[in-house]
Symmetry: C2
Subunit: 349 residues, 2 copies
């Protein structure tokens, strides 16, 4: 097919292949440019027979190659890369979903990047012509690496997430006030053993992570002992296995009466462990997650969580990226949001 | 930047712009082609200074335009479009996640398509050069429309889902045996009022849908009355609103003692409605969902569901698509899987 197309392709006076325009297609099809536009956009009514004539003309003129041709000529691709965590994490799926809605509405396509190889390709810039911009969701270290590179090598990029990058355009959300509010509620309810349930024991020492950081300073200010429940040292552990690890901890150490969970997935796994062991929420133990996953409201009792204003954050990040694409030398664009504690029955006692 | 690139670009003897090769970049950078390849792929160690020299050379030779150039010359883009439902539905997010893993491993990029405009563009074929193939997940009517079009206009495509298309390549999963098994369990447990909870009242009459179809024939064979709980006539209704609709139905009509839910989202919303009204699962009512979402195992009691072998199905669909891209005229490729009932406490009585 590629050979056929080149044979049919018109040559310009300078010898380079001529790109078929809407008008060319309209001329060959014997219709107005408006009709061709309608067929291409799929908007408005076009009689099926007319549509077929237009499509044949577009095919004959190799109009199908235009997206790639446009990328070569204008340097714009109409595509944005999104770099996020795995889509089997509801938090990440929701972010991609929100950007997908925003970008589609602006006529952009989404290219999903996840694998390390793809990230490296992007850093190495050799693929940079394939997208007009990059949205980095949550992958803070990767964003720092990207931002430190030559701006002429890397397409415009913006970061959205709970960590504040040291440079570049970003939309940041601060979890601290909401975490403090959750812990204050547990303290005010007279809970004695308030523990952090998290991914790995590194949580106790990772001072760049706002959740353990806030937990440690709040507990120390209240004169309480620190208690860390490691749901597993590894991120990729399957949920049911995490449930067992949490159950084993509780069976060996007794149950804390207040549990701050690192994220909503862990809150759900902790909930399952507590149910299996016959503990009651909120009577025996208060529980709060973090991410704002809607699913938590359906549990019995409904589970509390810390929500980020994701829709607003994603819309602003997309606005920042569009600005950056239009004005590469504009000053940095930064905004901070506050996360919100959503109090449900699991925190009410 | 586009102007700069064109100025620097070498011309071939026939006057067309010359595409910079790995060897060209290596020559300008004064390194081996292997080193350039390492920098591009991001594999193996390359000293930071060397990497920078290679990247500068690649930039100078406009090597960044190569992806678009390759698409023009070879007709291959290294990208596959995935058409699915919204990513805020866990079922759809999981499908995209699985294909994303498969395609990344094969060196392909994913282009997500959701909006009606994008689908129309694809049908209208004017964008077909932007992807090498299309995976249609669950959107049966759209796949039928695609398959009926001229194969020279539409890129190769494959369908994966619970409906069997009338033509084309597909991976189909049959829900019927698992739905029958769930209903047989309810009948064997002596349940008298077994209802279908679904999206809209059309469920009772849509004979192309296997779930209501199976429900109706099973109930009629058992001499039972049909009962449909419409969780809402519209797909886009928010979850909490569905919970209220289900509660209102139960308050007005009393509670059925067996509930087959159209999908897992509705099963979760039905669970919440039952909890709010003080019903016990499984003592008062048996409950089963459909989709196999892992989250259902974490509820108390754990909720039963009907699972599809998604990993196997997606892997096979991707194999079919690769075959079709390699051999456009090969005979149709079709496979059928059976869904599996996952029995948890919500079905045990």
């Amino acid at each position: 097919m590629a050979t056929d197309s080149r044979k049919r392709q018109a040559k310009r006076e300078d010898g380079r292949p001529k790109t078929a325009t809407l008008a060319d297609v309209a001329k060959v099809a014997g219709v107005t440019s408006m009709t061709v536009s309608r067929v291409i956009k799929g908007s408005g009514y076009v009689a099926p027979a007319t549509r077929e004539v237009v499509l044949r003309a577009a095919q004959e003129l190799n109009y199908t190659a235009n997206l790639a041709a446009r990328a070569l000529v204008t340097g714009r691709t109409g595509a944005i890369a999104i770099i996020s965590g795995d889509l089997n994490l509801p938090y990440c799926a929701n972010i991609v979903y929100l950007f997908d809605s925003l970008l589609s509405a602006s006529g952009y396509q989404i290219h999903l990047l996840h694998t390390r190889g793809e990230l490296r390709d992007l850093i190495n810039s050799t693929n940079s012509a394939s997208v007009d911009g990059v949205i980095v969701a949550g992958m803070h270290h990767f964003f720092e690496e990207l931002s430190s590179l030559d701006r002429h090598v890397i397409p415009p990029c913006v970061h959205v997430g709970i960590t504040k990058p040291s440079q570049g355009d970003y939309v940041h959300v601060d979890l601290r006030p909401a975490v403090e509010e959750a812990l204050e509620r547990m303290l005010a309810a007279g809970r004695k053993r308030i523990a952090l349930v998290g991914v790995g024991s590194h949580l106790s020492v990772d001072e760049t992570e706002i959740r353990p950081q806030t937990y440690i300073s709040m507990m120390q200010n209240a004169g309480r002992e620190l208690e860390f429940v490691s749901a597993s040292p590894r991120y990729e552990v399957p949920g049911p296995e995490r449930v067992n690890i949490i159950k084993q901890y509780i069976e060996a150490n007794g149950c804390p009466d207040g549990l701050l969970c690192f994220n909503d997935d862990i809150a759900i796994q902790t909930y399952r462990a507590l149910m299996d062991l016959g503990y009651r929420i909120p009577e025996d133990v208060l529980l709060v997650g973090c991410d704002g996953l809607p699913i938590l409201q359906y549990f019995e009792p409904p589970l509390s969580t810390i929500a980020q204003p994701m829709e607003e954050m994603c819309a602003l990040a997309w606005k920042f990226l569009q600005n950056r694409i239009a004005t590469p030398d504009a000053p940095p664009q930064c905004t901070n949001f506050d996360a919100q504690l959503i109090v449900r029955k699991s925190l009410q006692n």
